[in-house]
Each structure stands twice: as structure tokens, then as C-alpha cells.
């Protein structure tokens, strides 16, 4: 109190802050002893700079005190600031060392708290006295802040942090109700803001991560009256610290929560919240654009697979920040990760338009990848992938190999829906060529080996397929389930059933219970293929138990992704029905079919199986009706087409042309269907085209030796 008054008397300071405070020493200079300041004095100061010692400081300080009517702390603060400003950090530190902050606070405190309590009574008077003590407080607090900066520059973060913390503690004890918006002198506010910002960084540097965390929260949750930019910097650094700090932080304490507000439970949630707030502040025009915020958010949201949320934020970014093609590509990545391929592809089409960036390799590759997952986009995919190959020519082998891989996959898909035999074999050959070219650039890519294996198997080159399947298992250490399944199916196609069973059993050993569904299904089908009906029933029973247990456990939390990965109960009943029907256990077969029907009312497979049963019991009309129903639920249902063709081929010469058209249609869709070839041969034979018939029979017999127990498309 006394000091504040003294300060006011000594300098004829007006009630209005800044200039008064800084003007006073100058005025006082006239009264300072030995004021014959000149150039000689300046040079003298420079020469003495290096040997500023405690004696000098004390003397200087006492002169200042006398001359300027400053108290001890204030004089030291001024001097230290001067040293700091001149870059003499060590000297500044020695000056600051003499300041007793506690003593100073005690002097400031009463006047300020008195003021806050009585501010309505006597506004004007308290304002002027307040500004006086605020000058003094400001000067001393700044000194401690500068001391902390000095220690920081001297590589002593721990001590620096303690000093910086004492600034904040002092401010808190002076302003017990938070810093008022308008009452605070600018310089003081600046010191407070800078200290608030500095403290967590100092703790971090000192390796005191928990303290750092606490001081970040203290900075953001208490009333410091920070400006937007300062707050932005703190929030961003805190988010970065939470994301990458490798510290297990406890969530913010209950004390800081108001009802109904979102409280982050862990580091990642808190970081995401802060980053979203930062983005929002920018949308509202409160802060500058900081590109790193979006990248941090991208990282965080991609890690937890929430790219659709990320897409929303990317869409909100105002134009002019990202070039539009880049934004489209980023959005396409987001949508593709969120399995919204259609939206992703539309964006990529815009970006790959010839007026935009038609040769952007990343966009081309992503477009090709999306197309490779859909038969009907195969042609489009081939085009994108080929463009990518051309553009990858100049760069390294990596991207060229990736592009060729997509060319191969898309061509293989295209071959599956091609309408002519000739085109199909051309496409298949080309697909294999692309894949092997890709492999020559990237020898160690197991995915390429796998895709080649599948393609060889599709083309019934089982020898080569077997080699690929084995190689895939070797290069993945058997860690990828589909590799085991491919090997087992290829062996079954070679009719090496017992070996296929050994492989399936080995795979079962490497798989946890919940993921054994596909393998158990293959095992059951292998048993069927070996005409071991009792063992097959047993295998189906195991599979059924698993599927039902899965349904009970995961029943409520099912989501689409998981579903695709599992064997459905429907399939099991259907498989059992087929098995019983093949054994002529009609009643059992019927029971199974009813079960299957209960799970899936309109299924071509079930209807087809019903037809089968009618047919075996010579109920031709019912059988035909069932097959046709199957076809009307699924237009391209190949087994029904084959069955209709087969059934009609036995009904006399006038039905032969219709039978032929059904069978040819089936073969267009599935050229490796041996039953279709066989009955087509029958049709030709009945019609007297013996050479054609022979060809068809030959095809049927060749295929019989190379049919895997289930379609490779299940892989």
C-alpha cells in the first residue's frame, strides 16, 4: 500500500495507465545524480557490461530507488528488464533474483481486494488508486515472468516453470475473482497471458508432464481473460500434447464441469474436442487459419475410423484454403474409408476431369481401387488404372506396381461379366499379364500373389494356383485366413480332398473359435464331396452350433461390416437341406428348408432347392414353377437356369431350343458350370449335332476335375 502511494506521489502519474508509468523514469532522470550523460557514458556502460556483478546491481538499484522514488522490487524490475531487453539474460537473472515476490504481493493484495469489494461505492477514486498499484504489480509480475524467460533461455526449464507458476499464483491471489475484462491495465494483462501460455511449455520441457497437463487445463478453464489468438495457441498445443504426448492423462476434474456439458473421458476425446473447437473458432472468423489443426484432426479421426465426421469438417472449410482438387481427393478418401464408394467416386470423377487434374496419380489409384470392388465398374476401373500406369512411368516402381495391380483386378472382374467367350479369355490373359508385371516390380507383395492365385484358379489352372496359394501362406506366415481357404479350395479342385482337409484343420488351429465359420463350411463341403454324409452332417452341426452361438452373443450389436464376415445361419440350413436331399432324406431336407425359409423368405437358393426336391419326386410342374420363382427373385440365378434347361431338355424335342437358350445363358454367366455344359451336350445330342455335343461333354468332363468345393467368389 505504502509502496503504491509512494509511486504515485513520486511520479505525477495521471489516472491513465501506460504512458505515465513509462514516462516517470524519464522525468525523474533530471533529478538523478550525476546526470552529465553523454556518449562517453554509453561507451562506459558497454565496457562494463560484461562485469555486471552484484555490487553494481545493488548500487544501481539504490540509485534508482533514490532517484525515482521506486521501492526496491520496482527498481530491480526495471533494471532487470533493461538487461533482458539488451540480451544479457544472465545479468537480468541476477537482478531479478533479488525480488521477493511474496512481499510484493502482500503489498498489492489489500488495495486490490478492497477495491473489488468497494468498487460500486467509489468508482473513480478506487480506479485511480487501483491503476497505481496495478502499475507496481504489473512491473513486479513482469519481472518474474522475464526471470522465468531468462531461466528458460538458459536451459533451466524446471526453475523457469516454478517462477512462471509463481506469477500465475500471485495473479490468482491478487484477483481472487478472476481477471475483470476492462479494469486491467494492458501491460499486466499481457504479462498474465504470456505467463499462462508459457507455463505448460516449461513443464513439458522439464519433463513434468502431469504438471504440464494440469497447467494446460488451468490455462483453459480459469478466467485469464486471454485473447483469441493466445487461446488458440494454447488449445492447439494442448491438443497436440494429448494426441502425441504418450502420457496417460486423467480426465478433467469434476469441479470444472457444468451440468449437461460434454466431458471428455480420455486423451483422444479431449484432443478431438479441442481441435473441433479450434476449427469452429476459425469458421467464425475469430482466429487465423492454422493448417496443422486440420491435419491433427485428420490423424485423430482416421485412427478411430470416423472419416465421415472428418468429411463434414473438410466440407466446412471455406474456399480458398485448399485447392479444389485436393479437397475433392481428401473428401474421396474420407468417403471411401466410410464405405460410401459412390460419393467418393463422384468426387474423384470431378477431380480427374480433363479440365482439372486428370493425371493425379493418387486420385487415379483411389478411383481404380473403388472400381475394383464392383463388377459393373470394372471397365471404368481399367481405364483409371491404365492412366495411373502411364503416369507412374516417370516415378518409381512402387506406384506402377500398385497401378498394374488394379489393372489386373479390374480386368479380372471385367472378364467375369463379359458376354462373349472370346473376349473373356482375352481379358483373363491380360489380367494375368498385368498382375505378373506388377509382381515383377514388387516381389514381396503377398496381396498380388493372392490375387494371381485366385485368377489362376478361376481359369482352372490349378497347378499355378496351388503354387501361388502356398507362396501366399509362406509370405504371410499363415496369418491371413483367406490364404488358407484358397489353398484348401485349390486342393479340393484337384480332388486332393484329404490334403485339403489337412489344410483346413491346420487353418482351424490358427484361428480363434469365432472366426472358424468359413473353414467349417469348407470342411463340411469337403466331406460331402468325399461322399461321407455322416461326417458331413456332423461338420454342419458344429458349424450350426457356432453360428447360433455367435447370433446369441452378438445378436444386438450386429452391424453390416461384421455380418459380411460371417457364415449366416441360413447358409447352414440350406447346405444341410441339400445334403439330406442328396441322400433322399426328404423329410429332413424339408425341415431344413423350412428353417432356411424362416430366416430368409424370398431366396432363389431355397426356391431352387425346393424345385430340386420336386424334380426328384417327379413333380415336374411344381419343380418348374419353383425354378421360375427362383429366377424371378434373382434374374441371374445360374443354378435355376441350369435346372430349367436340364428339365426341359428331358421333355421332348419341341422344348430343346428353349432348353438350349437357358443353358447358354447360364454358361454366359458362369462359364465353368459343368452341369450346364453336360446338359447342353445332351441338347445338342438330341438335336443330332454330334460334334457340338462331343465338345460340350468334353468341356464338362474337363471341368469336373477342376471344380473347387465352393465358388472362389466366397473368398
Amino acid at each position: 500500500m505504502a509502496a503504491a502511494a509512494e509511486w504515485e506521489n513520486g511520479s505525477d502519474a495521471g489516472p491513465n495507465g501506460d504512458s505515465a508509468m513509462f514516462a516517470s523514469p524519464v522525468k525523474a532522470r533530471a533529478r538523478a545524480p550525476e546526470s552529465e550523460a553523454g556518449t562517453s557514458a554509453v561507451t562506459a556502460s558497454e565496457s562494463s557490461e560484461a562485469r555486471v556483478d552484484d555490487g553494481n546491481i545493488q548500487e544501481a538499484e539504490s540509485s534508482l530507488r533514490e532517484g525515482l522514488s521506486l521501492n526496491y522490487e520496482e527498481a530491480r524490475a526495471l533494471l532487470g528488464r533493461l538487461e533482458y531487453q539488451r540480451g544479457n539474460v544472465e545479468a537480468a537473472l541476477r537482478v531479478f533474483d533479488g525480488i521477493d515476490l511474496q512481499a510484493a504481493i502482500q503489498r498489492f493484495q489489500p488495495s486490490l481486494s478492497e477495491k473489488t469489494s468497494s468498487k460500486r461505492n467509489n468508482k473513480l477514486r478506487s480506479d485511480s488508486s487501483n491503476s497505481g498499484s496495478q502499475h507496481a504489480a504489473s512491473l513486479v509480475l513482469e519481472a518474474i515472468y522475464l526471470k522465468s524467460m531468462s531461466l528458460h533461455k538458459l536451459g533451466k526449464p524446471m526453475e523457469a516453470a516454478q517462477q512462471c507458476k509463481s506469477v500465475l499464483d500471485a495473479v490468482e491471489s491478487i484477483f481472487q475473482r478472476g481477471i475483470p475484462d476492462v479494469m486491467v491495465e494492458q501491460k499486466l494483462q499481457e504479462t498474465v497471458s504470456k505467463s499462462v501460455e508459457l507455463l505448460p511449455e516449461l513443464w513439458k520441457q522439464a519433463g513434468a508432464y502431469q504438471e504440464s497437463l494440469a497447467s494446460y487445463r488451468r490455462a483453459l478453464l480459469s478466467q485469464w481473460n486471454l485473447d483469441d489468438e493466445c487461446c488458440r495457441r494454447i488449445q492447439k498445443r494442448f491438443a497436440v500434447f494429448l494426441l502425441y504426448g504418450g502420457v496417460e492423462a486423467s480426465p478433467p476434474s469434476l469441479a470444472s464441469q457444468t451440468e449437461g456439458s460434454f466431458v471428455p473421458k480420455n486423451n483422444l476425446e479431449e484432443a478431438i474436442l479441442l481441435l473441433m473447437i479450434l476449427l469452429k473458432k476459425w469458421y467464425l472468423g475469430k482466429t487465423h487459419w492454422d493448417p496443422s489443426v486440420m491435419e491433427h484432426l485428420t490423424f485423430a479421426l482416421s485412427l478411430c475410423g470416423e472419416t465421415s465426421v472428418l468429411a463434414k469438417h473438410l466440407e466446412e472449410v471455406l474456399p480458398g484454403i485448399y485447392p479444389r482438387t485436393e479437397r475433392w481427393y481428401s473428401l474421396a478418401l474420407c468417403y471411401s474409408a466410410a464405405s460410401d464408394n459412390e460419393a467418393a467416386l463422384n468426387l474423384l470423377k470431378k477431380s480427374l476431369n480433363r479440365n482439372e487434374t486428370p493425371n493425379d496419380i493418387n486420385a487415379l489409384l483411389l478411383a481404380a481401387k473403388i472400381c475394383s470392388s464392383d463388377y459393373f465398374l470394372a471397365s471404368e476401373g481399367v481405364e483409371y488404372a491404365r492412366r495411373a500406369v502411364t503416369n507412374a512411368e516417370s516415378s518409381d516402381g512402387h506406384f506402377k506396381s500398385v497401378a498394374l495391380h488394379f489393372v489386373g483386378s479390374c480386368l479380372a472382374n471385367k472378364s467375369k461379366i463379359s458376354s462373349s467367350d472370346h473376349q473373356r479369355s482375352l481379358l483373363q490373359a491380360e489380367a494375368l499379364k498385368s498382375l505378373s508385371e506388377a509382381l515383377s516390380l514388387d516381389r514381396h507383395n503377398p496381396d498380388l500373389i493372392f490375387d494371381m492365385g485366385v485368377e489362376y484358379a478361376e481359369q482352372r489352372n490349378m497347378h499355378a494356383a496351388l503354387k501361388c496359394a502356398k507362396q501366399f501362406i509362406d509370405s504371410t506366415g499363415g496369418s491371413v485366413a483367406k490364404g488358407w481357404r484358397l489353398l484348401s479350395l485349390v486342393l479340393s479342385a484337384q480332388q486332393r480332398y484329404s490334403e485339403a482337409e489337412v489344410v483346413t484343420d491346420a487353418a482351424l488351429d490358427e484361428t480363434t473359435k469365432w472366426e472358424q465359420g468359413h473353414l467349417l463350411r469348407i470342411r463340411a463341403k469337403l466331406k460331402v464331396a468325399q461322399s461321407l454324409p455322416m461326417e458331413a452332417v456332423e461338420a454342419y452341426r458344429t458349424l450350426l452350433a457356432l453360428v447360433q452361438a455367435q447370433r446369441k452373443t452378438y445378436g444386438s450389436v450386429k452391424n453390416g461390416k461384421e455380418e459380411a464376415d460371417k457364415v449366416s445361419e441360413f447358409e447352414v440350413w440350406q447346405g444341410l437341406a441339400n445334403l439330406y436331399a442328396s441322400l433322399s432324406y426328404w423329410r429332413d431336407a424339408d425341415v431344413c428348408l423350412q428353417k432356411a425359409k424362416a430366416l430368409k423368405t424370398y431366396s432363389a437358393t431355397t426356391l431352387h432347392a425346393e424345385g430340386d426336391m420336386h424334380e426328384v419326386r417327379a413333380q415336374t410342374h411344381d419343380a418348374l414353377a419353383a425354378y421360375l420363382n427362383a429366377l424371378s427373385t434373382e434374374v441371374d440365378h445360374v443354378p435355376s437356369k441350369v435346372s430349367i434347361g436340364a428339365l426341359l431338355s428331358k421333355q421332348g424335342p419341341k422344348y430343346l431350343p428353349v432348353a438350349r437358350s437357358f443353358l447358354s445363358d447360364a454358361l454366359r454367366l458362369e462359364p465353368t458350370n459343368r452341369t450346364a455344359w453336360f446338359f447342353l451336350g445332351q441338347v445338342h445330342k438330341h438335336d443330332g449335332r454330334l460334334a457340338d455335343a462331343a465338345d460340350c461333354f468334353q468341356a464338362a468332363s474337363m471341368l469336373e476335375e477342376s471344380d473347387p468345393v465352393e465358388s472362389l467368389r466366397h473368398l
Partner: protein, 340 residues
């Protein structure tokens, strides 16, 4: 492994490690004041243990060092657990690379399963539930912001979207090949939780293995790098770590660790350089299948590695002070010269 008794004290741990490694251990370790801290931080110890773990033929069922790691991790001393976690990068790195060749690695697997079971236990009763992250909806207020007034009156405060950060952990008694990536991934998550306590060299090891796992370090755009040139000569006899299948359950935790090495507090430039390289290799690996979330995450890391950190603002001296500088200085000079 179970024949060993769990190690009870850091001193005992040092003694039994010395018995296994013999002369390879630095002498200073035995006389260290805090043996557990020395095990964690001493570079000599780290080198001795890591090179033993990398040695050809290591990791079998009779590997004494694996036995030691297992026993030390079972001990009740937290500092010893940390000393074991320190070797997770080397353990996981060598194990994954070798497991592809399907060599018997019972020693490694015992340690890794022990770590995994610890991760399961740490999650407690919620191990069977995935670890989730609730995404905030800014229309609702949070601890760090107040919502717009309009939003508060809409009573149906939207449920926050919940994302899965780490899938459920099932207990495993053996490492089945198809679960290997998940098990090692969970161990990496455990390591990630203690990253702030891990020494620099441990993180360097991890980044090195990430590069090897990606199988992308020989890409031609990597050739001009100086680092790759002397490597064959220096490592000479050391085995070449194989490319490893990187499903998301392994890729994601690995990338989080790389993120820390790149952007965490107080990391050396050397570590940042190595982490940048790891991020680049993982990016190339992600583009191989164009896995969009992996591409996005890696791309962001690479971009962040190229951005400059915002400096802490310096104190500003307002103009009034600037104007008075000369006078103040003169005054100071007077004072000082008067003394002489």
C-alpha cells in the same frame, strides 16, 4: 517359463540378467544406486539386451533372456515392468519378422502373451468391450466451450457418436497365426500408454522396425538417403528383417507410436528424422491397397512433419519502453560509471 520364480527386487533382476548376459553387461549396472532405473535408461544395458534379442536363433523356448523378461514383467515392481516394456519394439520387431518364416519362437511368444494378458487385465471387466471414443457434438456445450444459446433449448441433446479406437481383447493362451497381429497390436497399445517414460533409443528401435515391416525401404525414392547406404556394411551379419502383414489392428497402434516419435514433446531431431522415414514408409505401404484411413492418417503425419512449430511468443516491450530505452540506458551507464 513357469519354472522360473518371479523376480522380486530390482537387485535380483540385475543379478539374474548378469548371469544370462555375462560380460556383455556394463559393469556400472551392478553398482548403480537405482538398478531398476539403470535397467530402463542405461544405453549399455539396452544395447546388450537388444543385440541378444536380435541374434540369430533367439526367441526359442529355451532362450534365457526371454525367460528373464518374462520373470521381470511378472514381478510386482512397477519399475521392472517398465524396463521390460522398454524392449517391446525389439521384441515385437524381431518376433513379427521371424514369425512370417514360421520359426519356433516360444520364448518370444511367452513374453508377448504375458504383456498381452497384462493389457487385458488392465482393461479389467471391460476387456470384452472395445475401447471407444465419444465424438463431441459442438452444438452441445463442453468443458471448453459454451454452446450457442439456440442449441440449448433443443431438449434432445444429440447422443455423441461413438467410434472404436481399439477392438475388444479376448484372452489368448497361445498365439494363433490369425490373431498374431491383434496380440502384438495390443502390446503396442500398452507400450504407447507408457511412451513418455520410455528412453529415446527404445523409440528409435521402434521406428527402425516400422520401416522394415513396411517392406518399402528399398523404394527407389529412398535411394538418395545417406542413411540407407552404410547400413549393409554396418549391420553386415545382422539378419534382414522381413516385411510383415500389417492389418489395421497392427498398423493403427504402430502409427500412433510413430506419431508420438514425430510430434511428441522433447524428441530429438534424430528421432524425428527416423520417425518421418517410418511415416513415409507406412504411407507407401498404405497406398499399396489404397486403404483410405491409413492413407489419410499417414499423409497427415507426413504433412505435419514438414510444418514448423509455432514458437512461444517472446516478451514484447511496448513502444513507450522503446522510446525510453536510450534514456534508461544512459542512466544505467551513469550509475555504473560513477562507481568506477
Amino acid at each position: 517359463m513357469s519354472s522360473h520364480a518371479p523376480i522380486q527386487s530390482p537387485k535380483a533382476a540385475v543379478d539374474s540378467l548378469a548371469a544370462i548376459l555375462g560380460g556383455a553387461l556394463p559393469g556400472s549396472l551392478a553398482s548403480a544406486d537405482d538398478p531398476a532405473a539403470a535397467l530402463l535408461h542405461d544405453d549399455g544395458v539396452a544395447r546388450a539386451v537388444a543385440s541378444r534379442l536380435r541374434r540369430a536363433g533367439s526367441g526359442g523356448g529355451d532362450d534365457g533372456l526371454c525367460g528373464w523378461l518374462y520373470d521381470a514383467f511378472q514381478s510386482s515392481v512397477p519399475a521392472l515392468k517398465l524396463a521390460v516394456l522398454r524392449f517391446v519394439p525389439t521384441l515385437a520387431g524381431v518376433y513379427m519378422s521371424r514369425a512370417v518364416s514360421r520359426k519356433p519362437l516360444a520364448g518370444f511368444e511367452a513374453v508377448i502373451l504375458a504383456l498381452y494378458m497384462h493389457a487385458v487385465a488392465q482393461r479389467g471387466s471391460s476387456a470384452e468391450e472395445p475401447e471407444t471414443v465419444a465424438l463431441p457434438n459442438l452444438a452441445n456445450p463442453s468443458v471448453y466451450h459454451a454452446a450457442a444459446a439456440a442449441a440449448s433449448k433443443t431438449a434432445k441433446a444429440a447422443e455423441p457418436e461413438v467410434a472404436v479406437l481399439s477392438p475388444a481383447l479376448e484372452p489368448h493362451g497361445t498365439v494363433r497365426a490369425t490373431r498374431r497381429a491383434r496380440i502384438v497390436g495390443a502390446v503396442l497399445e500398452l507400450y504407447h500408454g507408457k511412451l513418455a517414460l520410455m528412453p529415446f533409443s527404445s523409440k528409435m528401435d521402434f521406428c527402425e522396425f516400422c520401416v522394415a515391416w513396411s517392406g518399402k525401404h528399398n523404394s527407389s525414392n529412398d535411394k538418395p538417403r545417406v542413411a540407407s547406404a552404410p547400413a549393409p556394411a554396418a549391420e553386415g551379419v545382422e539378419e534382414k528383417w522381413r516385411r510383415v502383414p500389417l492389418p489395421w489392428e497392427l498398423f493403427q497402434p504402430a502409427l500412433r507410436i510413430v506419431g508420438h516419435c514425430l510430434l511428441g514433446p522433447n524428441n530429438s531431431d534424430e528421432l524425428k528424422t527416423q520417425a518421418t522415414r517410418a511415416a513415409q514408409c507406412l504411407y507407401l505401404r498404405a497406398t499399396e491397397t489404397m486403404d483410405a484411413r491409413a492413407v489419410l492418417a499417414c499423409r497427415s503425419l507426413i504433412r505435419l512433419s514438414q510444418m514448423v512449430e509455432e514458437p512461444i511468443p517472446e516478451p514484447s516491450f511496448s513502444e513507450a519502453v522503446q522510446a525510453n530505452m536510450a534514456e534508461l540506458e544512459a542512466m544505467r551507464a551513469n550509475i555504473l560509471s560513477a562507481k568506477n
